[in-house]
Amino acid sequence: MEPLVRIKGVSKFYPRINRPRERLRAFASLMTGNEITEGAEVLQDVSLEVNPGQSFGIIGENGAGKSTLLKIITGVITPSHGSVEVNARVAALLELGAGFQPEFSGVDNVRMKAALLGMSASRLDRHLDQILAFADIGDYVYEPVKHYSSGMVVRLGFAVVAASDPQLLITDEVLAVGDESFQKKCIKWIESFLEQGNTLLMVSHSMYLVQKLCRQALWLHEGRTREIGDVFPVTQSYLAYHEERSAAESRQRRSQRGDSGLYRVSDFSLVGSADGKDLEVAGGGDLQAELVLHSPDGRPPVALFGVMRADGTPVYGVASDYDDIAAEQLDDHHYRFRIRFNSPALLPGSYSLRGHAMDPQGIRLCDTAELRFSVSGETREMGIIRLPHSWETGE
């Protein structure tokens, strides 16, 4: 099967052109064909093949080169090195504004955008009503785009893209500005687009969205490919990377703060987990955790536990003061809480347990620690938790 996109060893280098002299020098190097040496390298040696029917999520930190990569694939920018081959009708929605010109009305911009996407005038006339209906911004389409909210711009941009019947859709974190119902509409559209065997390349910071829409993922880190493959392992290691980073940051913050100050978590563990590994609980098995809190003034703090699904959806939370539980004092400054969730009703999947340190009044949340665990088992039930139920059989 011929891949739709094949890029090989692509690098992108931006010459430094802040001052007129640098500009001129960069231009002179262009004229003579010399290599420009001063500047910023935003992509280094990235290769990617996208086959028809695939859906690729491109993830990474800000400035990792995600948008640059998409722009190279769409042909907006030319790579400094490497080759790009695209064999598909591409529709791209890059950044907010989508190439709209603010002085012109929505309809004018739709015409322009449609022309840029390769739609003929007659095809656009046939689809115009459908586009306006999809965008659903009412009479605003006759107003200049500069009066639009960012969500309206995206609505209009996406509506044109949807009508242009692409084979490869490229989006760059634009859906995030749409409101809930429009996002749902777009996601539904993309899902049916993919079901028809089309191909998607998207940049997003929402791992939830990436996991929902993509089956493959590419993790860019500082302009290089860090990991590429199936969406779940790649997004998980990306999330783990962030976890580590923020943990390192908060450790640093804590050491700067010293021992004085706030109530904080000094130890948090799940009973039964081996060092450095996420605990795996069998479905229906008990979950036990131990939380040691540090109290700078010796008063007993309040502990709060929260269970969340891996994407951050809260499942259940409970604090020691709700249940009038007194802490177990270890020494002048340390208090221990132990909790057991008796055969929790969690369905198989990845979860995390958070332990929070709160002040003795249970008002202020002072510190947080998080541990991940998974619930194993196989079931066809849907959702997060199993609700106790019984079937009425009519006898």
């Binding site: 262009l30 042909g75 907006v76 791209a92 504004g97 322009m112 840029l116 005038a121």
Partner: protein, 258 residues
């Protein structure tokens, strides 16, 4: 020339015409008025103050002689000046959508020519009504000359707009250069009043061929043909082609410099 059928190109042209001319009410009127006022000023200065006589002005006198050359020059210089910064002005489009960016200068030149040629036709009609001897067969012959002039403007616009991305000063240098070019082209005067030395030099200025050919066709009904009439069109096509190559060679790097 396949850009003429391109849908994006058509959108850009209609957009340019609407914003630059039609959308402000006075725009279209200015298009006719501005050259008319300038024409009146020049006519007054040259016929009344300097009392200059143009030897080969024909029967119509100085005003038709000036007008026939002045409008095409205005179209040409306005097209080049307007398009000089059209690439950087559309940086937002270039950075976000993939499309052949040469359509930007080409559409600017096209819009300017479309509007100015409408004005030109109106002026020729007015001149005819005022009794100037307009040779309408010559006007038809002038069409290919105007098309060549359009291509010449396209060529320069492509070159200048690409250069402007890399060297910002281009849009500052260009207006005085165009003024200089205006006075070194026999628009206000006839090249026959020049000393031989300059008259020969003048033949290397493509614009002098354009204005003199238009005059001889439209005003004098002189349809003589010489090798010179092949040289300038050939040069024009060369400029157009060379500029297109130049533009395409460097358009890949626009995004880095915008």
């Amino acid at each position: 020339m396949n850009f003429l059928t391109n849908n994006v190109f058509r959108q850009l042209v209609s957009r340019a015409i609407r914003t630059d001319y039609l959308e402000n009410l006075t725009g279209f009127a200015w298009l006719i008025l501005q050259p008319l006022i300038l024409l009146a000023v020049y006519a007054f200065v040259f016929t009344t103050i300097f009392k200059s006589r143009v030897p080969d002005a024909g029967m119509g006198g100085f005003v038709p002689y000036l007008a026939v050359a002045f409008w095409p020059w205005t179209a040409f210089s306005e097209a080049v000046l307007r398009s000089s910064n059209c690439v950087s002005a559309n940086a937002a489009l270039i950075g976000k959508v993939a499309f052949p960016s040469e359509l930007l200068p080409l559409s600017t030149v096209t819009a300017t020519f479309v509007m100015n040629m409408a004005g030109y036709l109106a002026v020729l009609l007015v001149l005819q009504l005022m009794g100037a001897p307009i040779h309408w067969f010559g006007v038809i012959l002038a069409l290919p000359v105007l098309v060549l002039l359009y291509l010449f403007a396209c060529g320069l616009a492509l070159f200048v707009s690409a250069l402007q991305v890399f060297i910002r000063d281009v849009s500052q240098i260009l207006p005085p250069l165009m003024t200089f070019w205006f006075f070194t082209t026999p628009i206000l005067y006839s090249s026959s009043v020049l000393p031989d030395r300059f008259a020969t030099l003048m033949r290397f200025n493509p614009m002098s061929w354009y204005v003199e050919r238009l005059r001889s066709f439209v005003l004098l009904g002189n349809y003589d043909f010489s090798l010179y009439d092949l040289a300038i069109p050939a040069l024009t096509l060369l400029v157009f082609w060379g500029s297109l190559v130049f533009f395409r060679r460097f358009s890949a790097h626009f995004e880095d410099f915008l």
